[in-house]
């Protein structure tokens, strides 16, 4: 509302300034020759000055003087015959005022409504950083800024890496995984995520670097389905079809039928010429190639929803199945990095319900809370 009031005031002020000259009494228009006469007189003065200063020769000056004088005479004669034109104030004045009062608001508001976004507030970065609210972009930016000040915070990188991956910032994801691995040590999840980011970065190719990360991941956990999947893909890309088929079959044998990666595995198996195997046991996984493929296809807006959704889905999964220690630590860290401390505290309390503080894991949760500066004893709001 205030905006439209200001718009009205601005328009009115401009209209007033424009109309003002039309309100004045009519003044006669001097003949155009009167200006010429003034200029010629000045030229004569200037000539006289130059001659006194000796800048111009006598003969040359005389010629110039004669020429200017001739022009002066002609202009004076024309001025005398033209005389002063009578002051004119035709109907045009009222028409002109109407034109102004109509034109300004019509064009102004019309075109503005066509091109502008009325009601959208200015969003200076400093203000957004101070109170981020639900602004997921700012939450990421906040985390980034914190990491820029404290790049040794491995947990922060660890958390940010998959978020980058899902927002399509693959290069940043590679960097974040790399730092997390260096700072926090390798885990199958980190190495697998790193390799996956490398694969996406190189346009789907399982590079030598990715392969070595995947092998390390499998050395740590021989049951990591993601690592197995990409290694198998790498084998296929190298043209080792038989080995790739065997690897895909092995993976399919271990995976549950409804695992998100199964359609891809089955497709590869089919393409490599093998029959689809039966489904078997399950293992929980990190974001899979399908998720990432989906993230790639999504627009920017969808991605933001996806990041928010990812944290939320982790939270709801934990509500159903609270006996997931790693899940709780991830959730707590997520909230801290996203600067939602109250939610982090809540998650810590929930986690302690599943893993009592007396147990080993409960102690680890408490230690994590202390490290992150979260108080589990706080009252629920």
């Amino acid at each position: 509302m205030l905006f439209w009031i200001l718009v009205a005031i601005l328009t009115a002020a401009v209209a007033a300034v424009l109309v003002l000259p039309l309100m004045r009494a009519a003044v006669p228009l001097p003949s155009p020759h009167s200006h010429d006469i003034e200029v010629y007189r000045d030229q004569l003065d200037e000539l006289a000055r130059d001659r006194e200063a000796g800048l111009i020769g006598g003969e040359e000056a005389e010629l110039a003087r004669a020429e200017i004088a001739r022009r002066l005479l002609a202009a004076s004669a024309a001025d005398a015959t033209a005389g002063q034109s009578a002051p004119k104030r035709l109907l045009s004045s009222r028409h002109a005022q109407a034109f102004i009062f109509l034109c300004l608001p019509a064009i102004g508001v019309g075109l503005y409504l066509m091109t502008g976004s009325p009601g959208v507030p200015a969003q200076p970065l400093a203000a957004r950083l101070a109170s981020p609210g639900d602004d997921i972009n700012i939450l990421i930016a906040n985390a980034e800024n914190r990491l820029a000040l404290n790049p040794g915070d491995g947990a922060g990188w660890d958390l940010l890496a998959p978020i980058y991956m899902r927002s399509g910032r693959v290069d940043d994801a590679v960097d974040a995984y790399d730092r997390a691995i260096r700072l926090m040590g390798p885990t199958p999840a980190r190495l697998g995520g790193y390799a996956e980011a490398l694969v996406v970065q190189s346009g789907g190719l399982v590079t030598a670097e990715a392969q070595s990360a995947l092998e390390k991941a499998l050395a740590l956990d021989s049951d990591d389905p993601r690592s197995e999947f990409y290694l198998a893909l790498g084998l296929r890309q190298e043209g080792k079809r038989a080995e790739a088929l065997a690897a895909f079959r092995k993976l399919a044998g271990k995976s549950p039928a409804d695992a998100t990666w199964m359609p891809f595995v089955n497709r590869h198996i089919a393409e490599l010429g093998g029959p689809p195997p039966d489904a078997a046991g399950a293992a929980p996984g990190n974001p899979t190639s399908k998720d990432i493929a989906a993230a790639d296809e999504m627009g920017a807006g969808d991605r933001q929803a996806m990041i928010r959704g990812m944290v939320e889905s982790l939270s709801s999964r934990l509500k159903e199945d609270p006996a997931n220690f790693e899940g709780w630590t991830r959730l707590i860290r997520s909230y801290v990095v996203l600067d939602q401390r109250d939610k982090a505290e809540e998650a810590l309390r929930e986690g302690l319900k599943a893993f009592p503080a007396t147990g080993d894991e409960g102690k680890q949760l408490l230690a994590l809370g202390r490290e992150l500066g979260i108080d589990a004893s706080g009252e629920e709001k």
């Binding site: 905006f3 000259p21 228009l29 300004l104 064009i107």
Partner: protein, 661 residues
Amino acid sequence: MIIELGHYALVLALATAIIQAWLPIAGVTRGDRALMELASSAAVVCFLLVAFSFAVLTFAYVTSDFSVRNVWENSHSLKPLIYKMTGVWGNHEGSMLLWLLILVFFSALVSLFGRSLPETLKATVLAVQAWIAGAFALFILLTSNPFARLIPAPGEGKDLNPVLQDIGLSIHPPLLYLGYVGFSVCFSFAVAALIEGRIDAAWARWVRPWTLAAWTCLTAGIAMGSYWAYYELGWGGWWFWDPVENASFMPWLAGTALLHSALVMEKREALKIWTVLLAILTFSLSLLGTFLVRSGVLTSVHAFATDPTRGVFILAILVIFIGGAFSLFALRASHLKAGGIFAPISREGALVLNNLILTTATATVLTGTLYPLLLEALTGDKISVGAPFFNMTFGLLMLPLIAVVPFGPLLAWKRGDLAGAAQRLFAAAAIGLVVAATCYYAANGGPVLAPLGIGLGAYLILGALTDLVLRSGLGKVAGGVAWRRLTGLPRSAFGTALAHIGLGITLIGIVTVTAFQTEVVAEMKPGAMIDVGRYSLRFDGMRQGRGPNYTEERGHFTVSRGGVAVTEIWSSKRLYPARRMPTTEAGIRTFGLSQLYVSLGDQMAGGGIVVRIWWKPLILCIWGGALVMMAGGIVSLSDRRLRVGAPSRARKAVLATGAAE
């Protein structure tokens, strides 16, 4: 809300421009003075609105408001404040807004300081200015709106192209635009004269200072752009005959011609029709330059974006304004009374020759720039017209011009004495020849043309000085009298001399660098020595470095002369991770007017690195000459004679144009 207010102010500026474009013209046809006076207040209002709008955009950049799409696309929260501000015009939308701001700024100046102008002329001029402003405001709002919003706002911006994060580039576009757009005032005066069917005596007195001011800014802008390309691109070149460079060079050439023909018109009321035509031509070339750069017709370093609707829109503006102005010229030029007569050998004659050569040179540059586009459109063949073409045509055309430049000021108006002038220039020409011979001897033979070029430059400088000496009567009258006469000379005489001297200095720089620069490309390992010109460089090794938003590999070189270490040079390759863009930061050391220029190439397996080193003798003369030319422009602008008209008021106008630089 402030962003949207800025946006609305821009729309309102368009509405004001539409009113300013129609009502004053109606006033002129009906003889209604009130309607004519409306133009003045409208011009000021329009300027204030656009200025507010521009300030709001700058505010959005400074506060990193990424809800503005333009800010998100071209800024970054960690960018230094100065580049946040200059980033406003480091992109298509913002630079068009700057273009408009400068245009309405000039309109406001005409309105505020043009009180001595005849009412009808002033009203028509401001109306024509408003036509241009309206067209560009509409263009900005419909195709390149800098106030487009992005909701939800991203958390971080995409940053400015690192090549553009440089102080030289930050100043270069506004200067260039001041020049480009400054010629719009001359254009508006020309169109107004055609509409009125008569040229007032005050006309030339107004057009000349505007031309001078615009020309001075354009000179500065071009020189700055050239120096920026020289040190930032790392190719060692200072002029590439790139279409975008040509786009700014053509208005400069035409503007130089206009400067000289306006002089004839002011003094002798001759060449009226020609001057009007040149004024239209100069601004048309500015518009053409804007079209070439902004439409993406030419893909080059400078084209920020390629968007066909923009191209079509600017083409429409181009056709309407240039076509309209030339049609008007064809219809009305015969109404303008022809002015004074003069003999072929006279100062007027020399200036006509100057105009003939300059416009022909402009035409060759125009042909070379547009011919590839035309050929591709007609036959589909793709050709590139590069430096060899321009050197052959433009360079050759400039030779006779330079030879006759010193004659101009020495010839009298109306009827001159060629033999007398030649006699007076004898000393300058003789010294020029001696300089040429000395250079030839010093260079141990070599190309004949280069020493001749240097001699020509010396002749140009001495010829300009000869004029001052003769006019002060030095040697004929007593020293004191001569001094008094010299100091009493009108400033425009010094302006002329300075501009011609500047041209001579630039010529010497260009010829020396082109003919005598030494270039060495070599693979160097740490400890290796290489001789370039009179200096030896030792490569000491590479070091890693890190800047605020880049990483770099810096090569260290020790420069020695005759076995004694003189100085050191750092040359580096940078990588900007935000855009994953490598840049070359050439290492440059200045020795007097000459420079050593070191550029790094690829690193080799054995620890060596490919380096390219130039010894560039007298290279600073190229830009130094441009500075002297600018100084000439400024001195001329401050001349008392340009203030004549209605003295007290017109003086402010000159101060204002001075402030606009």
